[in-house]
Symmetry: C2
Subunit: 787 residues, 2 copies
């Protein structure tokens, strides 16, 4: 189909588009009479009308033209739809292509299948109104706006032959994450990666307002898109006959640009520095609700915000029913479908076939392409342990050595990347640079280090972009780790929510294959942000993950470097989870040899007999989760051994937070017998926790011994101070934990008063010491474990 298109081809494309529009309107409105064989009756209309028409005809318009492009050039292409409330359009296209029926056999390509297609949409037990995991060809949940372009780039990375068409809603374009995403092109290498084709869908209105980008004029918008590093091509108008021709020609130009960019980059001599091209993009300016009702009840609808959802909604008015019928008949369904409901052959021949169909492209069902990572033996990176507390190590630096080898072993596979907001080195994972630098396609100065067009470490000062890119990368069948300052992971709370929802739903869709887990490494954590102060101190992302369903959420708090290695290895092998790992980067005492670490992490929690004192029948259980709480707990044990030598202490460490929940609530949960064997049923438990204390209560309130569990954790106290003062401010310090223990053991009642005196004296000394010298008392700095 050379461009300009012949009138016949335009007519066929237009018919296909009308078919998609017809099926979209049908999904929103009808529960019967799908081919309008009879005059439309009120009973043919669904009792509840849920769906979004406004963006749908534009989405369908792009889809049919991409189909033409795919067929003519044999392209490997997927779509990401930012305005995912255009869900009916994507379902319609998948149905037209046949892949919908392949995925959902009950939705046959027949009259009755069409009726079921219509009926299931936004119907209880049917399919959601937005693009969702149920939609073939999508890697993008279309409910919350803002993440489409980042997802598209994530999909394009390391897929050199893939083109990701990304429709960006002009409302969506007002969101922060989307606004930041435009600069993703500074991180995409045309030699190594695929192409992203942004299509800004300027249909002018949101739910109830015009959009900013539609109202700044062509010149300012062009400047903006140039500033984003794009060459925009405008496709503007409302006459389909003209627009089909313009769109087809524009897509040819855009594809030619992409091919030129890629071929120049891929054939350039290795000596030539990589050049960042100005990537093409399309601005599609068409009316909102295009081809829908122009006026309803005397008010303009097409081309206004009123077309956003259901333009005709009050079927108590016969006029609305009449308008709906006219609207649907305007697509001339009898020209599109056989009387048995099947799409006419001359139309179905327009669509790509097999895996070239965007709704059947394997990249959009990433699990089907997933190759397991080649992983080194993490034991090779273990910290040698002569004895517990005998050596110090920086846990994340140790992990960095392991990740360097993960990177190395998978360089050829090109399916592993590390993501972080300008913090990879700060988080001490910089060993990976030995193997792969930081992706960078913007200008490079001589002073720069470790930047490279072929780098596989993704650094940009945007948690949204890190998360969005990683999600896109995972959803297309690859692997990654996102390392982040703990406090600032909250920036992506809402993205986590959506990804977790995606995973939860996908797990129950048979044709969706499992994908690699979303692995977070939170470091620079609350207890060691003493130098940056209060703004950097927040452990609440644990709560955020723990609120997810138990089939998705995993939270690990490795107490030392060897446990971190064991946990990380486990997470990189897992599928369809959100794995949250919290681990410090500072030099800390190490506790477990690697074999012991593996046993401990596999169990998820356990008694550290080597740390306890006659712990078979303890007076008190000292429990801890998190590296700093573990340190303080063991230091408290030292104090207790010294001051109340006759106390019997059991030390318990929890790595896998979810073991605390009942087995009925979480598959990792200990059964009651196992829990009671560790925590007893009647002894006081002093639980030193990394995060907000209420989390432990929330997890354990059904346990037999819950009433005796006394939790210390972060209570929102902090500032720029010393690391030890941080735990003091939050009553998580060793002196407080020791006092907590003494106060709760009945047979030590006569020693409480002295212990309290000693505690307050020590606190005075601590305060004086840091106020005068700006550092912690020598006994804190010099403390180390000894038995």
């Amino acid at each position: 189909m050379p461009v300009p298109l012949s009138p016949e081809i335009v007519a066929t494309l237009d018919a296909y588009w009308r078919a998609a529009n017809y099926l979209s309107v049908g999904q929103i409105y009808l529960c019967g009479n799908p081919l309008l064989e009879q005059p439309l009756a009120r009973s043919d209309v669904k009792p509840r009308l849920l769906g979004h028409w406004g963006t749908t005809p534009g989405v369908n318009f792009v889809y049919v033209h991409l189909n033409r492009l795919i067929v003519d050039h044999d392209l490997d292409m997927i779509y990401v739809i930012g305005p995912g409330h255009g869900g009916p359009g994507l379902v319609a296209n998948a149905y037209l292509e046949g892949s919908y029926t392949e995925h959902y056999p009950a939705i046959e390509r027949s009259r009755s299948g069409m009726e079921r297609l219509f009926r299931q949409f936004s119907w209880p037990g049917g399919i959601p109104s937005h693009v969702s995991p149920e939609t073939p060809g999508s890697i993008h949940e279309g409910g919350e706006l803002g993440y489409s372009l980042a997802h598209a780039y994530g999909a394009a990375f390391d897929n050199p032959d893939l083109i990701v068409a990304c429709i960006i809603g002009d409302g969506e374009a007002e969101t922060g994450p989307l606004a930041a995403s435009w600069h993703s092109n500074k991180f995409l290498n045309p030699a190594r990666d695929g192409a992203v084709l942004p299509i800004l869908h300027l249909n002018g209105f949101k739910i109830a307002n015009p959009t900013v980008l539609a109202r700044i004029g062509r010149e300012e918008l062009t400047d903006l898109l140039h500033g984003y590093g794009h060459e925009p091509y405008f496709v503007e108008g409302d006459d389909p006959a003209i627009l089909h021709q313009v769109m087809a020609e524009t897509l040819e130009v855009v594809l030619r640009d992409i091919k030129t960019i890629q071929s120049e980059a891929r054939t350039a001599p290795a000596s030539m520095p990589p050049r960042r091209p100005r990537w093409p993009m399309i601005v599609l300016k068409t009316p909102k609700g295009w081809t829908g009702p122009k006026v309803v009840d005397g008010l303009p609808v097409e081309g206004t915000w009123r077309a956003h959802q259901v333009p005709l909604a009050d079927f108590s008015k016969p006029e609305h029913l009449h308008q709906l019928e006219n609207w649907m008949r305007s697509y001339r369904p009898s020209e599109l479908f056989h009387t048995n409901g099947k799409l006419r052959d001359e139309l179905s021949n327009l669509a790509p076939t097999g895996h070239r169909r965007m709704s059947s492209n394997p990249h959009a069902n990433g699990g089907s392409l997933l190759q397991p990572l080649s992983l080194p033996d993490f034991r090779d990176f273990a910290v040698a342990m002569p004895a517990p507390g005998a050596v110090e190590a920086e846990a994340t630096r140790v992990l960095g050595h392991y990740l360097r080898e993960v990177m190395r072993l998978n360089l050829e596979q090109r399916n592993f990347r590390l993501f972080g907001p300008d913090e990879t080195a700060s988080n001490r994972l910089d060993a990976v640079y030995d193997v792969s630098g930081k992706a960078w396609m913007a200008e490079i100065d001589p002073v720069d280090m470790d930047l490279s067009a072929t780098g596989r470490v993704m650094e940009v000062l945007s948690e949204h972009l890190c998360q969005g890119w990683l999600e896109g990368y995972l959803l297309t069948g690859r692997h990654g780790v996102f390392s982040c300052y703990e406090a600032f992971t909250h920036i992506v709370d809402s993205m986590l929510n959506q990804h977790a929802k995606w995973l939860k739903v996908s797990r129950n869709i048979p044709w969706r294959r499992p994908i690699a887990s979303l692995n977070y490494l939170l470091t620079s954590h609350v207890w060691r942000q003493d130098h940056n102060g209060l703004s950097h101190q927040d452990p609440g992302f644990i709560d955020q993950v723990a609120n997810k369903t138990s089939d998705i959420a995993r939270v690990y708090l490795p107490p030392d470097a060897n446990c971190l290695l064991s946990v990380a290895d486990h997470c990189l092998r897992s599928r369809d989870y959100v794995n949250l790992i919290v681990a410090g980067k500072q030099p800390e005492w190490q506790w477990l040899g690697i074999d012991e670490a593996v046993r401990h992490c596999t169990a998820g929690a356990g008694i550290w007999h080597w740390a306890g004192v006659e712990d078979e029948d303890p007076d008190v259980v000292m429990a801890c989760a998190g590296d700093v709480p573990t340190l303080e707990t063991l230091a408290a044990v030292t104090l207790l051994r010294e001051y109340v030598p006759d106390i019997r202490i059991r030390v318990v460490n929890v790595v896998d937070l979810m073991v605390l929940e009942p087995r009925s609530e979480h598959p990792h949960g200990l059964d009651d017998h196992g829990f009671d064997a560790i925590f007893t049923t009647d002894r006081p438990v002093i639980f030193a926790f990394h995060g907000f204390p209420a989390m432990i209560h929330k997890l354990t309130y059904r346990r037999a011994n819950h009433r005796n569990i006394h939790v210390r954790g972060y209570k929102q106290e902090g500032t720029t101070t010393t690391p030890f003062d941080m735990v003091v401010l939050n009553d998580l310090d060793r002196y407080r934990l020791a006092l907590d223990a003494i106060e709760r053991v009945p047979r030590l009642a006569d020693r409480v008063a002295t212990a309290r005196d000693r505690y307050w004296t020590t606190m005075e000394r601590h305060k004086l010491y840091i106020a005068e010298r700006g550092e912690d008392m020598p006994e804190v700095r010099d403390w180390r474990w000894s038995t």
Copy 2:
């Protein structure tokens, strides 16, 4: 001081800048010998070096030049510092201007005061390393990056004589919220609002990487800034002598542009449509760590990422001490300060005085300007209540009528705005448009409605912008409400964290005056997002707020419109809180007359005797929090009355969630006696909750009757379905609640089997009904309360 500046003026400005730089370096490094009267000794250097040098000289450079501009033109100006890790610079300037000493008398303008100034910085018990509430003149916590420009716009709204200078870090500019904030100029009216002067500080590097905007070339950057609606003026170089002149001239041009824009807008005839101007801005391109060490240990530092924090850090090397001394002496402190430590008069005369000092501008201590809102009597908007459950109303629409009057009564004061991400009408608050439209300075088409250059409703499809603008507006002493879809409020989790931290710290700073509370109205909530589906369903923002300290966090779940009115009125009168109100927008049965609503909301929770059955000595307590849970609970009571007429039921409703916490944990907490009087100490409690069930356990685990509290709430089940199916999917429906009650009353044990049968039969009927008809059973749709 006309420009070009005379050489003498340049010399004086430069000296002032050197003084600020000297004091900044001193804060980062020294704990003694502040004036370098002796050769620098290792003991003069702090044991822990915490702070950020890189951005500081640029921040100081801007500051001294703004000072000149303020003095020459008698400007009312505040600053917002995006790269707030430049904290030492702001503290230095406040100290130079004298306001630091006014706020903190111990930090005298003397030798010993300077020593204390140095010592307190990043010192335990001292001040944080970032710009923070402790910093005079700041409304912006500088820890987490991304919110500066939105804060600046919030401050400028309705302050026509104010100029808000906003330094944007080029790292910060990569974040989503900042990238979205540029378009704020489409919402700023030069006739009514003040001006924002963005200064993009292009110092080239982040912690460990170059910045994107520094590496896209001047042309692309200019396009980008034009696209954002700005005219950029470039100030670029590293020779202070030249840059002082360029900066001064540029600021004159920029100020002239601002004045021209404002005067044109303010003198234009009313008939002329408002015009959106191209606002000026500055791009300041200077080396990172400008004037600091050029090379350390053989590696370049100035002009690289290595200057980000502490360029010299290893004082075990004598060379570093030597370099530090040379660096500090390069500012020639003896020319700047008298031997007694006081700034020389010819320098201190450069600074503005009184409230013209940016560090003493009252707008930056908004509480000092705060005027209470004129509030109508909310009782006037009450839904008339013949009896409980006798009428339906849309709670937020009722609230909208009240907010319309709030808007009207404060139009003249110009201190109230309503913020929402394109959802004000969807959230049924559109009555406010009767009084004030939606702010809009972009193009207007004839089809548009309610847009206006003078509108006070702020709508943009960015939760980040809504929150950022509102924060800036509140922090400068005004009032507002942010209405948002419940699920998507998570987008601003991290912004909430930072604002809550700001409030917590500010409350303990005597000179910071209380500001109006941050009021959230979450509607379109989880239980009525049946039409949009899973992506729109998440009640977790309650958890997010509840994790804040008890002096800040308030969570309200009004069960009906009259309670919503009472709660909203209370929140608009409150100060220094984060108030979270969750209320539905759909037509729902109403329960309380307005007087009863006021009593109920004031108590926070109470027994609804009218709804119970012989509730003095109940078999079961049916508790509820949230409008939909309340509905289901009362419907469950109806079922119980019918099927087990001899059951004794107490109905409890909770409006103020924090009453559930012990009094020791939250000031709203009921004392144990009060709690037990409502919830009993030994009866089963079936608690129907709006949010995640664990929240109720977390709040009540210390209560006597906790073991008997059985909570139903959202458990992450949902899709596009019917409203009633939503509660069924999550086991929060009336049938489940009724069964829960029967199962837990021992004397009804013989009726459990029958009740279960009936329950399952009903569920079958429900499922069949919605599957076949797409709507709920008639007995659900038609249910209404009757006694």
